[in-house]
Amino acid sequence: MHEQDVVPARRWLRGFACELTEQDRRNAGVFTRWSVLWSLGLVASTFALDGGWVPAGAPAVVVALAPNVFGLFALRAFMRFLRETDELQRKIHLEALAAGFGGGVIFMWGYRLLERAGAPQLDTSDGLLAMILVWAAGLWVGMRRYA
């Protein structure tokens, strides 16, 4: 990659760069680790259930619900990050979360009407994806606004 390609990429990433305190970095690290475990658990459960490795009934329910334990720990870690973070970071994250939630709701309800108008049917996770993308965009805008 040439330098002129690297510099624009770095400028774009600067929007996500936030200068966290040491405590914030620790809390963000804990949240990241639980989130990775949660993601790996979801993938493992999906393969186990789709591959027929788990007997139907109670075992399948346990395998389906097991990754949520990591999800709950990730949620607790994120709540701790929000409570203990710098006040400007808290403002940025809360505004981004509000945008993500609102954007996701508007997308999901709005697309329901589009489906009635003949648009292809989407999966529930597509609405979640919209929520996450709007949240990420909100974070980027917030970081740049106060950079």
């Binding site: 936030c18 200068e19 710098d86 400007l88 106060y146």
Partner: protein, 74 residues
């Protein structure tokens, strides 16, 4: 909100990072306050005043500047 944070910090030879450490916030927050992009909460404003040994109203000025650049009577 206008403030004299940058002037006070420079007078003491502190970097934004050093002031941020003293206040327990990120350098980004210090920069945002100095550039008037963000107004601190009351607890943070009190901590800033304590660090610089001044009153809050000596550091922060909520009045908008007059069109001729001068401020009105207090």
């Amino acid at each position: 909100m206008k403030n004299t944070l940058r002037v006070l910090r420079a007078a003491r030879g502190w970097s934004q990072a050093e002031l941020a450490d003293a206040l327990g916030v990120s350098r980004q927050t210090v920069n945002a306050i100095e550039t008037s992009r963000y107004d601190p909460s009351l607890p943070l404003a009190f901590r800033i005043a304590e660090v610089f040994g001044q009153r809050i109203d000596e550091i922060f000025d909520p009045r908008p500047p007059a069109p001729n650049g001068h401020r009105g009577p207090p």
